[in-house]
Symmetry: C2
Subunit: 322 residues, 2 copies
């Protein structure tokens, strides 16, 4: 990624996060250790911990405090991924077998629990009780968003508002929290914390909308999972909702909603409808609007190398994903 | 239970814990709420939160701090039960359908996660960072113990030492922790905390051994689960290990180890071997030895109504279970 070359400090920070993760994540149980090492070697963009560290640069940056905190945020994210894969019965993530497909649901449940509690014990040392409370709330929001998504599978009970509310909990909450705690633990002014928190929320919203778009226009190799899986599993995301609202295409799309028995050609037709109706484009536009808001929030913040890096993360999301 | 009549304060405390649990455990998601309410109405002995409160009476008892803390411990315990039932694929707990059998593994995973994070956010307000750290460590120990148990199903790789190590993590850790944090948050002296922590450990060990015995001599109605389920699932507990060590019966028992295809009569024969070899009696004796140690620890503590209640809990475990 371009950004790391320009902002060497961030690149170094990611290495520090990874080093810290490797050291922190050891279990007194061989299988747990294997499962965790497998997760660590799968890598990841480490976007959330990077947000923690970048936000910290707007105040008194204290590495000893922020590296464990950012690692804890990443570990919580890893835990939700491991449990998500149980919920979605996923075989692959980032092109590799998931914990559940390799070790079974049982080990996956416990690996996630282990990671959750590890994350909490990492922050108990350094982080204020207020921010720990925010952290737990963010994870609870993720659970609520996930249950909501799971429960409304295959139902027609969908709207843009409900979709946005769901991804706000499922994804944006943790991005927003990452920026908030990074800034707050670095003693930033209230106004700065508020701006960064909003930046994180909008970034998270754009990130999830983009992620949902990739189910319709990504390539299997790039993402490590096949196209149209969300739709086939009854998870109706923004492009589908826009298509349903389209006068010309809505009715045809509706005939595919709620069906668990779709054939390959039918699913491909869904993919075509989403493109032809402009549902995909409208979704992209909404993601771009969230990214505009990100720039707006950054505009209120003082110029520094962290702000530059954040701007590039926003550009990165625009370029890479569309 | 006898104890509550003699020690009215404890009875009141249990009501307070239950009230607090009902108020604290609300989710912004209807299905999560249903699953949680179902867990709450299933009841439970609330032994762990009671240990927190009783231990608190050895120091400066502060209800405002201890009730949320004890509720948090119970919620963590509830979370581990919900996830355990996924791991064991259990249909019933306390005679009622489990969360996973009623709402599916997916909702069960998220209900457990929700509970874990709720518990952490309850304690972030009141509890010292040191004790929060101990709490996370106890939950991690439970995960390690559970993975260990799951991984060694159907294997011959069992010994009394490994069994004791496993139940120490799986069960005794949370009992010990309950006493420790209750005492520590009430500013008890170091020596008192140490004694109570040890009491909790020994009580937890006796509790788990007794629980494992019930798989061989409890009645289905009493416990809400059929006999010999642990053995049939390849979980070899203390009575089995003792029987394996018996010169006369060991060989016959060994022929049943590692087999997933046992018939009803074969499983009943296992039950007989455990009785005839004295494996059941030896296990009871070990449980009693742990309960003796409980009395010993209590002997080092000052006399008060909490100590009386703890003694009765120990007696209760002896009388009710054997």
């Amino acid at each position: 990624m371009r950004i790391w070359k320009k902002h060497v400090d961030v690149y170094e920070h990611i290495n520090k996060i990874d080093d810290y993760l490797r050291k922190a994540l050891t279990a007194n149980q061989p299988v747990l250790n294997d499962a965790i090492n497998d997760l660590l070697s799968a890598g990841g963009k480490r976007l959330r911990p990077v947000m923690v560290l970048l936000s910290g640069h707007f105040g008194r940056y204290d590495e000893k405090k922020l590296i464990p905190l950012s690692a804890a945020v990443e570990i919580m994210h890893m835990a939700t991924l491991v449990h998500d894969d149980i919920i979605d019965e996923s075989e692959l993530r980032r092109g590799r077998p998931t914990t559940r497909s390799r070790w079974g649901n049982q080990v996956a449940v416990l690996t996630g629990d282990f990671l959750f509690t590890k994350a909490f014990s990492l922050v108990t040392h350094n982080v204020s009780q207020k921010n720990m409370h925010h952290l737990s709330n963010a994870i609870r929001a993720i659970c609520e968003g996930e249950v909501d998504q799971f429960q409304s599978r295959y139902t027609k009970d969908i709207s843009i508002l409900r979709y946005l509310k769901r991804i706000a909990r499922k994804t944006a909450a943790l991005f927003s929290l990452s920026c908030q705690v990074g800034a707050s633990e670095s003693n930033c002014r209230y106004e700065t914390i508020r701006c960064l928190k909003k930046f994180g929320h909008d970034f998270g919203m754009a990130f999830q909308i983009t992620d949902d778009l990739l189910d319709f226009n990504g390539s299997r190799n790039e993402m490590g999972k096949p196209l149209y899986t969300d739709f086939a599993e009854g998870i109706y995301t923004l492009p589908i909702i826009y298509t349903l609202q389209n006068k010309q295409y809505g009715e045809r799309m509706e005939s595919y909603i709620g069906r668990k028995d779709l054939s390959e050609p039918e699913i491909r037709e869904v993919g075509q409808l989403v493109v032809e109706s402009g549902g995909l484009d409208k979704s992209k536009q909404l993601a771009l609007r969230y990214l505009d808001r990100c720039h707006e929030s950054l505009g209120h913040l003082p110029n520094n190398s962290a702000k530059g890096a954040m701007k590039e993360l926003v550009e990165e999301l625009i370029e890479r994903r569309y």
